[in-house]
Symmetry: C2
Subunit: 457 residues, 2 copies
């Protein structure tokens, strides 16, 4: 287990101790900004400003973007106005917006006062769009071409303006800001004749999203069409920005994490696990735990109500956890499947009857298989191996019949509730495991006691 590895962090610490700044710089310039940021996060924060100043200008800005908000804030507070301006000049607008969104008001004011007027205007524009919309994650820095340009003119324009653009590889053809089509740099480079015009070359079947499109839909569209970027248009169909594939990837990961957290019965958080302290975890987790604890009152009430039956046939009690567990698991299987299919855009509310019918058929298969297996298990393990004489074949039958019906009810509820949530504009992921389980817990008890009452008493 004892591995002796020399990490970059420890090397840098030693070099910092010895004030070997030029060696540090030589090491840093061989690294990728994302890795530099990760290393910086590991070091003591009071060394950050010094280390940061060792980076070449462009690299400094790229590293800055990759850092955590608290360190970004600390650095900004230490920057002189001209240092701040230098970093801002190198940032893409969408990255600048991401930073501004995380900073306290006085830091935001300082950032906006140091940004050049064009950038300030664009930042303010993007900030106006609602959270999680295409408008809020887009960048306004794209290459636009006019339809009458020749390929040669287009390449000249890209060369002149491209350095500040987030991507030059897909260029958008616009006329009075209306989006007419797109050309790729591949098209431009591979075309034989430099005098071809952009309008001849462009693809007019351009897929765009609007500023209010949900970011999850934008990410799905980028992934579906394998595009490097998607153009964003406003309500008057004028082009206002692009969303690039790297932002779409981040959105996909964020949305999957959010779904998983909600399905696990937590309030989603944007902090990574290691950066969340125990109080953050507490706040994320306690609301659902409290809610579910209180809602368990129903299961308690049901058991109380059937107390006399349970006293008469005490053996029934010991099968409650198995029935509730199987019901809960069956329901959450269906819920999770439907929630994921909704997230990936495979199904929508109108498919609800198709979903319920599919779930009923799957439930019958699962229910029958489980009931048969359960009968065998109860008779073999509980009656013969554990010598529990109270487990008669008729008791086993009660358990198995209750199980089959529980599975059926659980799968119908698990399959339909997420769709209903979606229709009501709630997050379908809320309908996953903990929530479904609580409903199914009560239902499985009611079914169990109903079957028991009908057969045994």
């Amino acid at each position: 287990m004892a591995e002796h590895t020399v990490t970059v962090e420890s090397t840098l610490s030693v070099l910092l101790e010895g004030k070997r700044y030029s060696t540090i710089k030589d090491i840093l310039v061989t690294m990728n900004p994302a890795d530099i940021a990760a290393v910086f996060e590991e070091l003591e924060t009071d060394r950050l400003p010094l280390l940061f100043r060792l980076l070449p200008k462009e690299m400094a800005a790229e590293t800055f973007v990759e850092m955590e908000p608290d360190n970004q804030e600390m650095l900004i507070r230490g920057f002189s106005d001209s240092e701040l301006r230098e970093v801002l000049d190198e940032l893409y607008v969408d990255d600048a917006v991401d930073i501004v969104e995380e900073m306290p008001a006085n830091v935001v004011r300082r950032i906006l006062s140091q940004a050049d007027p064009q950038m300030r205007k664009e930042i303010n524009e993007i900030l106006r769009y609602p959270e999680n919309s295409a408008g809020s994650i887009m960048t306004t820095e794209y290459v636009s071409l006019r339809p009458e340009m020749t390929v040669e003119e287009a390449i000249t324009r890209i060369r002149r303006t491209g350095v500040d653009k987030e991507t030059i590889y897909t260029c958008y053809v616009t006329k009075e800001r209306n989006l007419l089509g797109y050309v790729t740099v591949k098209d431009l480079l591979l075309v034989a004749d430099d005098d071809t015009t952009i309008s001849e070359l462009m693809d007019e079947n351009v897929i765009s999203v609007t500023t209010s499109t949900d970011q999850e839909e934008v990410a799905q569209a980028l992934s579906k069409y394998n595009f490097l970027a998607l153009p964003v248009v406003d309500n008057e169909k004028r082009m206002v920005g692009i969303v690039t594939f790297d932002d779409a990837m981040d959105v996909m990961q964020e949305e999957a994490t959010e779904d998983i957290e909600i399905m696990g019965g937590m309030t989603p958080s944007e902090k990574t696990y290691l950066r969340s302290n125990s109080f953050d975890l507490f706040k994320q987790r306690i609301p659902w735990l409290l809610l579910l604890m209180v809602s368990a009152t129903f299961t308690g009430m049901i058991i109380n109500h059937f107390e006399s039956a349970l006293m008469a046939q005490a053996v029934l009690t010991s099968f409650i956890p198995m029935l509730m567990g199987t019901g809960g698991n069956s329901g959450s299987q269906s819920a999770v499947t439907v929630i994921r299919a909704l997230s990936l855009g495979e199904i929508e509310f109108s498919d609800i009857f198709k979903v319920i019918w599919k779930e009923i058929r799957a439930a019958v298969l699962c229910g029958v298989a489980l009931a048969v297996a359960c009968f065998g298990k109860v008779m073999l393990v509980d009656r013969f191996l554990l010598r529990n004489e109270a487990v008669s074949p008729i008791v086993a039958a009660v358990i198995c019949i209750a199980m089959a019906f529980t599975v059926l009810a659980a799968k119908i509820i698990g399959g339909s509730l997420p769709l209903i949530a979606k229709k009501l504009k709630l997050d379908p992921a809320v309908m996953a495991s903990p929530f479904i389980t609580t409903i199914v817990d009560s239902l499985s008890l009611l079914i169990y006691f109903a079957v028991a009452t009908a057969i045994l008493f």
Copy 2:
């Protein structure tokens, strides 16, 4: 609810009926291949070959790639040799491999016999790599440049060879197949002097993966560094291919879906929900349901063992579901959080003590809050509102103390089991909700009865 929308599918059906093929073609060429494939999937399969032949060559191949395996197989079986060759000529190698992997042996033989020798060699090479490795998802079609080339020569080379490459925007500089660095087309276009050599321009700090790197790691690296493509090298550090961002996006979605399915207690499946029939769903779901049903024997045994105690204090029974539920939810919250952090590469096994310590502190906060709330709820709701005289303050205390300890145990187990699974090279997602719940169910009962025995009897 009654919406009257004219879908492309219905329009095409009507046009097909009337044999209006040129109109159909005019409609199809305005569409994106991914959308054409989606529309084709909705139509009757016997019309597919006819529709497919209406598409221009390149579009036909792009649409073919987006279709479901069963329809691809049907089309291939209907193709003449020359039609098959035309489609194959337009495919990228990685897409061809994806198709080959889904086809039965006789179709594979036919594909390989019609592919040109170079492509056949490359398909066979990629097929050798293990599933889910970088080698298995890479493409061999990338642009390589030599270090002594000038910018002008490089652009000429890209123009000459680029049409068959999956991406031309990142070019890899190699010497005797060793990867020396990379240049982007942006660098090439924006550089002022056409006589600059590639070795002056290239970035030597190139991040690469090996053929055996797990696809999930590849996707994470692409997302972390915001690269369009990552080079793949073999064990001798020779460059063999690239993985592009669009494949990384697919991998990210697949892996998230797989994690979610496993966490929901299912065997992961590559079929979408609507394409899975009820028997597919049954097969995906029944193994866990059976396993968990059988493992519930333990909870049954524990309850049996304490039957006399439960008979003496029947009120204890009605709180079993609440305790087990809270324990299960607490444990799965921790498990889900840790599993996601593992998936995103935020933590690894060596963080286990950090994780356990964080979980213990969060558990103490949650446990105390729940115990206090539970005491209040039990006294208020169960004793006073529901007038259950058996719920004495001392019984309430037993329930609350048991709850606090259950939460603590659940969070320690939930936080550590996924890490241990990872260390044992099992999928951490297996340790989520259903599995953790089963362990915690037994534990919470043991804690409950231990506390009850100590205080009440």
